[in-house]
């Protein structure tokens, strides 16, 4: 009997009748007349076969494995060491939750250095891909593979975007013994989970500043392991992270904007009210799905989009941004918007460099370097700066708009908290009064409250 890797799954060739045996994940596949199991259950299947005393050859991992380079253990802060020990004690499976700026990547590098096995690191964006590729050579002397951003090179240590991993895992899922997932909260909700299911790595490390709750957390525990170590902003602020102050600036709409807002808001609210009457617990997706069935519903959705666009960058917000930029012209400022259109509008009006997903890799690197060196003093972005990108010394953030709720807000504020002597960061949040944005902003601040006691 041979256990083989087949396109992101395991198959048992020449197997006896195992229908009455309890082997985790193993199912009879009538399409090919073989037993098949998901690849991520490799260790369990092997263990179960051994326990049943069934003779088998485990041919899942490649026969010849190229020699790896040499790892250097990074220096760790006490809480990073504690995180690593917690992960070790959980048999190398679990999620480490640390706030942005606290050095999650370093914990991952330590896990990689300690394990010295072939490893694949998954990251959500091309920007993070390049950041990992830049950081890893400090700890690893061998070649580092890259899947994503137009590159397709697989090595013993490989960094891949989620999207590339999703497409490549059927071919390379058996090549690695350690799977590291940065910003692991993106998984567990169903989308792209297959990338983790098709990998045989038994040791798995998830990194996140904002681990999910509820069913997504349970699913993530199946795919990567449970949350084994967690610290919030409050735990590290002051010593390991900079202190910060949150200032909420409430602004209004001018008459013309208010009229447009009220008109569109009424249009959407009516359709929403009718839907809620029929489906009190209906999800947003269900509302959209129902609304698209009628011309009236479609008009309501268009109206909703217009209000979102309007609130994203109002005249009052533009004035507030002007005043704040003028006030902090000697600071390093990050501006966060709800969408790219608002980012470009701010860029045009205030002559600030935008950093969006549409800006190419080379230009993005040049811009970030200029920001680090101080050639550029402000950047405006909708999502690119939300996660992971290392922006070492920004000290002022202006949140002009946001759409992704608590998690996005925590991540954005985390951009400012990389410590520096005497640093006290300021976060300005612009909220339009008497609009749906007011409660949405209050909601996202609640996420911050969970992370830290520092607020204003």
């Amino acid at each position: 009997m041979r256990l083989l890797f087949d396109h992101g799954t395991l198959v048992l060739a020449d197997a006896p009748d195992l229908s009455r045996k309890d082997i985790p994940g193993l199912l009879w596949d009538p399409r090919v007349a073989l037993y098949r199991a998901p690849a991520h259950r490799h260790a369990e299947v092997v263990q179960a076969l051994a326990a049943l005393r069934l003779p088998f050859v485990d041919a899942v991992l490649p026969a010849t494995r190229a020699p790896t380079g040499v790892w250097t253990m990074p220096e760790l802060r006490p809480y990073q060491e504690a995180a690593l020990v917690a992960w070790d004690l959980a048999e190398g499976r679990g999620v480490v939750a640390l706030p942005t700026g606290s050095g999650k990547t370093r914990v991952a590098a330590a896990a990689l250095a300690q394990s010295t096995v072939p490893a694949i690191c998954l990251v959500p964006t091309r920007a993070l891909l390049n950041q990992w590729l830049k950081e890893l050579p400090a700890f690893y002397s061998g070649p580092i593979g890259c899947l994503g951003d137009g590159r397709q090179q697989v090595e013993d240590v490989t960094v891949a975007t989620f999207e590339s991993a999703y497409r490549w895992m059927p071919r390379i899922g058996n090549r690695f013994d350690l799977l590291v997932v940065d910003e692991a909260h993106h998984f567990g909700s169903g989308a792209r989970d297959e990338a983790l299911e098709m990998c045989t790595a038994s040791r798995r490390l998830g990194l996140s500043a904002t681990p999910p709750d509820g069913t997504q957390r349970q699913r993530l525990a199946q795919l990567l392991g449970p949350v084994v170590f967690q610290l919030g902003l409050a735990d590290l602020a002051g010593k390991w992270l900079a202190e910060f102050e949150l200032v909420v600036l409430r602004v209004g709409l001018n008459r013309e904007e208010r009229e447009r807002y009220e008109l569109d808001h009424r249009l959407f609210a009516e359709v929403n009210r009718r839907f809620r009457a029929l489906h009190p617990y209906g999800t947003w997706q269900e509302l959209v799905s129902a609304a698209t069935q009628t011309p009236e519903g479609r008009a309501a959705l268009d109206a909703w989009r217009r209000t979102k666009q309007l609130l994203g960058f109002t005249r009052a917000k533009a004035e507030a941004v002007r005043a704040l930029l003028s006030r902090h012209r000697d600071s390093k400022v990050l501006l966060f918007t709800a969408d790219n259109a608002a980012a470009y509008a701010i860029a045009r009006e205030h002559l600030i460099m935008p950093l969006t997903c549409e800006i190419g890799r080379r230009e993005r690197e040049r811009v970030l370097q200029a920001f680090r060196e101080g050639t550029l003093r402000a950047l405006v972005s909708s999502r690119v700066l939300n996660e992971g990108i290392d922006v070492p010394d920004a000290d002022v953030a202006i949140v002009v708009g946001g759409t992704l709720g608590q998690r996005e807000h925590v991540q954005r504020i985390g951009r400012l908290l990389r410590p520096a002597p005497g640093k006290r960061a300021i976060v300005y949040e612009l909220v339009t009064l008497d609009t749906s944005e007011a409660w949405r902003a209050a909601e996202r601040r609640r996420g911050l409250g969970r992370q830290t006691s520092a607020s204003a």
């Binding site: 799954t9 596949d29 399409r31 297959e194 002559l351």
Partner: protein
């Protein structure tokens, strides 16, 4: 495309069959209006133009069809960058200048424009001209007609559903080889059986002759390995890739079990010959240079033998073998040999294969095995018509086997 929800151009019958509302000739008047509207907007920003194309047209158009047609059109035309200075340079110079100075905006624009050899207006226009949202619509390529847009929209319509399929069953006659290769190439599990006698299917009058066709037929069941465990969209792209291939078959019927969203009741999508689906690029006559070179070499040295590119599949032990070539004597078609090129192999694999061929009473087959891809050093099975090769199949050796088998040739 993969992962997007299916368009609303479909309805479900009481027995869970999906009826797709294709774009047809009746839609051509408003499609022409759509293209005219596009032509009017050439030179303007593409995003704004696309938004305008989604609004009511001069000719009344069904909303869902119009949206799909706009999406199809977006894929058929390109957008260009219209800027007096390269946009990344414009951004870099202007924003770094602004970061280091306290001058008013207009003054900064003027100074930077002068530095880049343009004017303030040109500089402002260039700032984001390379971003998708700011690119400019270019003229329609001559081949983009209402018919073309309709066909592309129909392909999108079927693909959206197909990308959500859990398994696909295809009955096809003629040109089936490329279809099977495409499925296997993309890691799909593809069970192949010989198709029963082609059923008469309802076809437009112009295509009714196809019912009389006698092409070798196959039945394929296609699904992905992971589909055994859960509903997954992982294979959506691969399944969509089958569509242009299946459209090359002389006759086909494709049935797919799809879910519009996870957890919803499955529905059966059926696409068959006569549906307005465009075949993909013309199939290449050869799958590899190796095959092409062999065919050329063999034709040169064996004028009395014809090389048939896609022979009928052969039954062997319950499964079907798809030989690469059939070599048929020009004057006596009863004299023929099959030739198959084997990729990775082990002696055991070859043994099994030859046993299956013997069971199928198929002796007139030559296996060409790549010496560089042998997976074992054990001895090759004896008595088989095996031609080892490296990079090139020896056409003379093939001919000598044929001549030895039919000594009167």
């Amino acid at each position: 495309m993969v992962g997007k929800p299916p368009p609303r151009l479909s309805s479900r019958t009481p027995n869970d069959q999906l009826v797709l509302h294709y774009l047809t000739e009746r839609d051509h008047p408003w499609l022409r209006a759509l293209l005219d509207e596009y032509e009017r907007g050439v030179g303007t920003k593409r995003n704004a133009l696309v938004a305008r194309l989604r609004e009511p047209l001069a000719a009344p158009a069904p909303n869902s069809k119009q949206r799909l047609a706009v999406e199809a059109l977006e894929g058929l035309v390109e957008a260009s960058v219209a800027a007096k200075v390269p946009p990344p340079e414009a951004r870099w110079h202007l924003f770094t200048a602004a970061a280091g100075a306290r001058a008013p905006r207009d003054q900064l624009l003027e100074a930077t424009a002068e530095q880049l050899g343009t004017d303030s207006e040109g500089l402002e226009e260039a700032l984001f001209a390379d971003l998708n949202s700011e690119r400019v619509a270019t003229p329609l390529p001559p081949e983009v007609t209402p018919q073309h847009v309709a066909t592309e929209a129909n392909r999108l319509l079927v693909s959206r559903w197909l990308s959500r399929a859990q398994n696909v069953r295809i009955s096809a006659w003629g040109n089936t080889r490329a279809l099977i290769r495409q499925a296997r190439l993309h890691g799909l599990i593809c069970n192949v059986r010989r198709a029963a006698t082609p059923p008469r299917i309802a076809l437009p009058a112009t295509l009714d002759g196809l019912n009389e066709l006698e092409a070798p037929g196959v039945e394929l069941e296609v699904s992905g390995p992971l589909s055994l465990f859960r509903h997954t969209l992982l294979y959506g792209r691969a399944l969509c890739g089958l569509l242009p291939r299946v459209a090359w078959c002389t006759r086909f019927e494709l049935r797919a079990t799809c879910e519009s969203a996870p957890g919803t009741a499955p529905v059966t999508l059926t696409v068959r010959t006569g549906d307005p689906i465009k075949p993909g690029r013309e199939l290449r006559p050869f799958d590899s240079q190796l095959e092409q070179r062999f065919a050329r070499d063999f034709c040169k040295i064996a004028p009395n033998w014809n090389v048939v590119r896609e022979p009928r599949p052969v039954d062997s032990g319950g499964s079907l073998i798809f030989p690469d070539f059939e070599l048929v004597h020009r004057h006596d078609p009863s004299k023929k040999f099959l030739l198959e090129i084997v990729g990775f192999w082990t002696p055991k694999y070859l043994d099994d294969k030859l046993r299956k061929l013997r069971d199928a009473r198929l002796d007139s087959i030559i296996l060409c095995i790549d010496e560089t891809r042998g997976c074992s050093d054990a001895a090759l099975p004896k008595g088989a018509k095996l031609i080892p090769f490296r990079r090139r199949i020896d056409a003379k050796l093939v001919l000598s086997i044929l001549e030895a088998s039919f000594s009167d040739c």
